[in-house]
């Protein structure tokens, strides 16, 4: 088997990598895109970051067509991309050229009170807290699975979820007043 893999020509590798990336895109682009849009608060940026994830998956598969790429790997890559984007944004915010993230990109049908509350809260959270909240309640992973993706313990994920919810609760209260 190993020998077969080694015998793979460059064309085969590319074809396999393309086919596997294709199926990853079909299965995960909606989930990853939505997760990333919640993380960064902007649809265009989320699309860029989603592309980046699949691009690095493709590069990975081209180097090793048999490599297993789990949902965890994709979410980890997505989270890292979002965090580094948010970090850059925070640095650029100090410059006068700051461009506020466009809230109008949120379509009308998603402007439910819940959707807006959540997005406002997410905008105020440190990225590690929003990632913990979104990977669990939004993407549907357990705190243990999310912990693997974030490189921490499940107890830390639960704490971050709790802290994130504290902010969300404050915002909901403000909204009611």
């Amino acid at each position: 088997m190993q020998r077969d893999v080694e015998a793979c020509s460059g064309t085969d590798r590319t074809a396999i990598a393309q086919a596997r990336t294709e199926s990853l895109v079909l299965e995960y682009q909606t989930k990853l895109g939505r997760y990333l849009r919640r993380m960064v608060g902007d649809a265009e940026v989320a699309l860029d970051l989603t592309q980046e994830v699949f691009l690095s998956a493709y590069r990975m598969l081209q180097a090793d067509p048999q490599r297993e790429l789990t949902a965890g790997w994709l979410y980890r890559a997505a989270t890292n991309g979002a965090i580094s984007f948010l970090r850059r944004k925070r640095i650029l915010r100090m410059l006068p050229l700051d461009r506020e993230i466009d809230r109008n990109t949120w379509r009308v049908d998603e402007r439910s009170a819940a959707s807006v509350d959540l997005q406002v809260a997410l905008g105020k959270l440190p990225p590690d807290q929003s990632a913990a909240l979104l990977l669990t309640s939004y993407a549907g992973y357990s705190s243990t699975e999310a912990a693997t993706m974030l490189g921490t313990t499940s107890s830390a994920v639960r704490q971050r979820v709790c802290r994130a919810m504290r902010i969300l609760r404050t915002i909901m209260r403000e909204g009611m007043e």
């Binding site: 895109v25 682009q29 909606t30 990853l32 895109g33 939505r34 849009r37 649809a43 265009e44 989320a46 699309l47 860029d48 989603t50 592309q51 699949f54 379509r107 049908d109 998603e110 439910s112 819940a114 959707s115 509350d117 959540l118 997005q119 909240l133 669990t136 309640s137 939004y138 357990s142 705190s143 107890s155 830390a156 994920v157 639960r158 704490q159 971050r160 979820v161 709790c162 802290r163 919810m165 504290r166 969300l168 609760r169 909901m172």
Partner: protein, 198 residues
């Protein structure tokens, strides 16, 4: 009852577990016991009901989500300037009246029939060609359209006995390699009148 900072941080993890629906009965008991003695956490974190109510907002937002991201459409949109150029190139090629020298497989024919490459054929071919053409050439091409000067390309096609084109070569370049390539590609798509036998 005094509570330490460690207790409160453990309570946060318990609150997170309750919100996520992961807490066991004993974990819920421990959380209740902590809240009973810690007014700070009652205020900061809230009871189980409160946690679940806040979590319901997140779940509701998730269920309201309608966005269907499509990274392929996004890629196409991002390359819009390039796509606009491909239409421009199509136009440029479509207005060309090409002088074609139809040649036999070995001996070139003396007569040189004029071929007008149909816009329909060329559009498909030019689009295909522009996908592979480097951007640098793309800019040059759009200049041709901008100045609205028709360009002429002369080409020779070798056909077999059935009139199927075998080879195309440019005998007089238009000066734009992308146009030349597109013309040759189009020329190879046409079925020719078979060469007459003497």
């Amino acid at each position: 009852m005094m509570t330490s900072r460690d207790d409160c941080s453990a309570a946060q993890a318990l609150a997170g577990a309750i919100a996520l629906g992961e807490a066991s009965d004993s974990e819920r008991d421990r959380y209740r016991a902590h809240l009973a003695g810690c007014a700070h956490c009652v205020n900061e974190l809230g009871g189980e009901r409160e946690l679940e109510r806040v979590m319901a907002v997140v779940v509701q937002a998730r269920d309201d989500e309608r966005w269907e991201p499509d990274i392929r459409k996004a890629l196409a949109r991002r390359h819009a300037p390039r796509r606009a150029w491909s239409w421009a190139a199509t136009f440029a090629v479509a207005v060309i009246v090409v002088a074609g020298f139809l040649a036999g497989e070995k001996k070139p024919q003396a007569t040189a029939p004029q071929h007008t490459v149909s816009a329909k054929d060329v559009r498909a071919i030019a689009a295909l060609d522009t996908q592979t053409a480097p951007r640098r050439e793309g800019r040059a091409e759009s200049l041709v359209v901008g100045s609205a000067v028709p360009v002429t390309t002369a080409f020779a096609v070798s056909v077999d006995q059935r009139g199927i084109p075998l080879r195309c070569s440019i005998t007089k370049s238009s000066g734009y390699s992308a146009v030349d390539r597109a013309v040759c590609r189009a020329a190879l798509q046409v079925h020719y009148r078979p060469p007459s036998h003497h």
